[in-house]
Symmetry: C2
Subunit: 211 residues, 2 copies
């Protein structure tokens, strides 16, 4: 199997951390264009109509896109140290939190980034080969949503060690990648969200996470 990533993009980073936390040995390939690292390479886009990373190429040549689908596949192949829940109810709670984090956190950060950064003029959305204009009002909405997201997970983390319970799960990985990416775009964790601050510090020191 081969896993394709793109620079520091948060979605492939979710799979990279998942793989590292579970101790899965897998070849990771950078999909950016060496001459123009702000773009995915023409070879990658020509080969995979999905045009997004992460992408997992299987040994039979088939491929799977979308971080959660890739991680669920790997979780089945490597069931030790489950990160997506062990019982049906745990699996549902992890997926619920992961989707909530994607929708309210990761998407909010992406809205800010894609609609303000010069690199993405005319590329307001990932995965399209047409011109998608940036929308300044969407960046503004993204900052507002991100603030509400921090408040929501701060409340959850005030009563739980990790987002979906007592152990690290895929939902924490998604939240960590969203926040880490936001911080790199100067979207800091609010000072008063002390539970998020504490959780972020703990997650960032894990061997599978620290660079």
């Amino acid at each position: 199997m081969k896993l394709y990533k793109w620079m520091s993009a948060p979605n492939p980073r979710r799979v990279e951390i998942f793989v590292a936390e579970k101790g899965i040995d897998i070849e990771i390939i950078e999909a950016s264009d060496p001459a123009n690292p702000g773009q995915l390479s023409a070879e990658f886009c020509g080969r995979y109509p999905h045009r997004r990373v992460p992408l997992l190429e299987l040994d039979d040549g088939d491929w799977i896109g979308e971080a959660a689908a890739i991680c669920r596949y790997l979780e089945t192949l490597y069931p030790d140290n489950p990160l997506m829940g062990a019982t049906p109810k745990e699996i549902a709670i992890v997926e619920m939190w992961d989707r909530l984090v994607e929708w309210e956190g990761l998407m909010a950060v992406s809205e800010v980034f894609r609609n303000t950064h010069k690199l993405f003029v005319g590329r307001g959305l990932a995965g399209y080969d047409r011109e998608i204009p940036q929308i300044p009002a969407l960046a503004e909405r993204g900052e507002f949503r991100l603030r509400l997201f921090f408040e929501k997970i701060d409340e959850q983390l005030g009563g739980h060690t990790f987002l979906a319970g007592d152990t690290l799960s895929f939902a924490d990985i998604t939240a960590f990648c969203a926040i880490e990416f936001g911080i790199s775009r100067r979207l800091a964790i609010p000072d008063e969200c002390i539970h998020v601050q504490d959780w972020y510090g703990r997650v960032s020191k894990r061997p599978g996470v620290a660079n």
Copy 2:
């Protein structure tokens, strides 16, 4: 178990069709406010901090939000007639397509609807209890994305009976609900997308789908 829905909203409809296709007998409760059906009831919002439908209340009082998490939970409890794939690879392919449909199709329809309809002035996003202004440019982008979505699934359905293979899956249900909802907002399937037209006709006649 109790399943909460809200009028004709597409996300609860995904779970309703899933349950009907699998033949699961479950109590379905309307969560809208009887005095103001355009809003979720105060009782529902007070009881469930998730503030979104669908929501599945378990017999022990715990609850699960998010359509895909609910359906995966029900698929584990009722494994006959799998709609989310049978093998690890099938499960991954169904989840990939479901997420692609959510992101490129369902979200596009929602962007149009939430940012143009009078009912949602000041409520540009589902699940928030703060004012979220409508963004006209986002409705325009949604229409453009929806067109590209139809082209993409038309290509896939030209070579496959259903989106993720030879049998109906949760990805088809998500796509059907997105398109059905779009049609109700006058966002028709383009005439030239003949494979989508054919597939939509077949899915709409299924006993679990037809109203």
